[in-house]
């Protein structure tokens, strides 16, 4: 035994387990047990108001789910929300990050903070602000932006077109965390590769698409995951969901409705589990596709 090995021994397994035990207990209490309980509840006709009448109903809830037109609709809405806002946020965050990492920028940190600012504004405030801003009678959207541009503007805030438009615009307002991830990735890029390509005559666009983008692909992957989870109803970093639904996704809103308007816990649990399986499938697909397009420097080494 030398002196060096003695302290090593003190990182012992039992103490490590003791240290992570709060998280392990939390995992069991607030994640694993509830997920399993949810699965169990989804096979029953559990009602919040009459819990004593609960009985096992087998797959009845899942059959009802398959026949429920609303489920198809909210699922479609949720997926199209993801398909429109995730690429939009991704492109915007890469664009902003490359502008804001330009050395010509004066007081860059303040500028980055100002673009990040909406991400920390409470969702309620953002909701009030956008509803007011877009209000046809008293807001500024029609008065100062759309009418001067010669556009008709919105007459009804709650028409489908207006909501879709506001959804996309407001998703740009939570671009902050994505932008920071991209900034971090861009600042970590080695200059030599870009310089070498420049010397070889590659223009800025070629360098961007063939060098920068592949090199920051891990950050892109991470940003896609974060934005996707936000749409699917997880809680990540500063995410506050989409401000117009008051909830993360149309699907989430429907589960909340079944839960707190109908008090139908059994059916709500089956809806939640159905969605859980879909999300896990998408996550799995994304992670297995990552092998093909995400660049990991240590894998080549």
């Amino acid at each position: 035994m030398t002196i060096r090995t003695t302290p090593r021994l003190r990182y012992d397994k039992r103490f490590g387990l003791l240290l992570i035990s709060p998280w392990v207990i939390g995992l069991l209490l607030f994640k694993l047990l509830p997920i399993l309980a949810s699965l169990a509840i989804s096979f029953t006709n559990f009602q919040l108001l009459t819990p004593e009448e609960t009985r096992f109903t087998g797959l009845e809830n899942y059959i009802r789910l398959m026949q429920d037109d609303a489920v198809g609709y909210v699922l479609f809405e949720t997926i199209s929300l993801g398909i429109t806002t995730i690429p939009l946020q991704l492109v915007a965050s890469i664009f902003l990050a490359s502008l804001l990492s330009n050395p010509r920028l004066k007081s860059g940190n303040l500028m980055r903070t100002l673009f990040f600012l909406p991400s920390i504004v409470p969702g309620v405030a953002i909701f009030f602000m956008w509803i007011g801003f877009a209000d046809p009678a008293t807001g500024w959207l029609n008065k100062l932006i759309l009418h001067p541009l010669g556009l008709t503007g919105f007459n009804n805030l709650f028409s489908d077109g207006a909501i879709a438009f506001l959804f996309s615009i407001s998703s740009l307002w939570s671009v902050g965390p994505g932008m920071l991830i991209m900034l971090g990735a861009l600042q970590g890029l080695p200059h030599e590769i870009n310089e070498a390509a420049r010397v070889d005559g590659a223009g800025p666009l070629v360098r961007f698409f063939y060098i920068t983008l592949p090199l920051i692909s891990p950050a892109i992957f991470f940003a896609i995951i974060i934005n996707m989870i936000a749409i699917f109803g997880g809680v990540i970093l500063l995410d506050r969901g989409n401000v117009f639904s008051g909830s993360f996704s149309p699907y989430d809103g429907y589960v909340t409705y079944i839960l707190f308007e109908r008090y139908d816990l059994g059916y709500a649990a089956s809806l939640a589990w159905f969605f859980f399986v879909i999300v896990m499938f998408v996550v799995y697909a994304l992670f297995s596709s990552a092998r093909r397009w995400v660049y990991y420097p240590d894998r080549d080494a």
Binding site: L17, I120, M182, Q187
Partner: protein, 359 residues
Amino acid sequence: MTTQSKHKWLTPHNYLSLKLWETIGTGLFNLFIFLMIFAYLFPMVFMVATSLMEGPQLTDRNAPAYPAKHVRYEYEGKTYPVYKVPFPNGEVRELALVEPGRTSSQFIDPKNPEAGLILWEGNRRPLIGVYEFHVTLNNFTTLFGALPLSRMLQNTLIMTIIAEIGVLLSSIVVAYGFSRFPLPGGDLLFYVLIATILIPEKVTLIPTYFFFVRILHWEGTWLPILVPFFFGNAVYIFLLRQNFKSIPKDIDEAAMIDGAGPLRVLFQVILPQCWPTVITVSLLHFFYMWNETRQASLYLSISRDIAPISFGVQNFQSLAPIQNQLQASALILMIVPVIVLLISQRYFMRDMVVTGMEK
């Protein structure tokens, strides 16, 4: 070609013009960024402007966008609104409307009241008023009367402090365990930690809600919101663990040789080097708590007097206040996190960028 142009750039005169172009380019670039930020934050300008307006300005079609009031002129003990009145000879005069009529109205000229009433023929409805800049704090005073803002603020502060203590202590300790100790299953537990971030909230919500409300009877208390924080947060654990890992083990081993136990190593060796990340995590949680309404709407809807501020402001909408009071309430709600971000920006933004890099 290249050698020629290179040679050309090197003359002192052209060097100066190159500098000039550089300066112009930098100026234009910064102007562009500035305009982008202005456009990006434009709804906030609306919010601030509207919250400083008097109510009637909102419904006045001809009113300007900035907070303003219709200029009035006092004449013989009464005040009359001033309009821009066009005359047949092309002249436009600012006159106060004394006697409105359907086809003709009587005006008085504020600059020349001795001339008496002026008769003007035409429909007065399309006439555009004269406005002057005018700011009011009435919306905020109404708001403070309608909402128990100071109590809600106090609730949020106490909740935030308790939640910060819980989430920081547990996340730091767990992150230390993940960063330094050999754990059963190797990295498997760490992958489980990452995976828990991806679980949609709804799938755990139903049993958790039932457990808190029907079995523990925690409805109407802060417990269901605060207790889970004492078991760590996966995202914070992840961020802290990455940071702890970047500190060489040699330093804590040296401390152990000097007789320090593992907890002492954590609090006296590792944490002092990681405080930027710790502060970033606590700021993230501060912003989260300030934003929190979903848990509050689940568990606190029956006890409004212990509601946090964002939930209280959210409920304010159901009282159907007029638009400028709504904007004032949103402004009050966001002012604290915005100030905190601006104060901590230098350091929060840099650390977020660095943490993002490690992923």
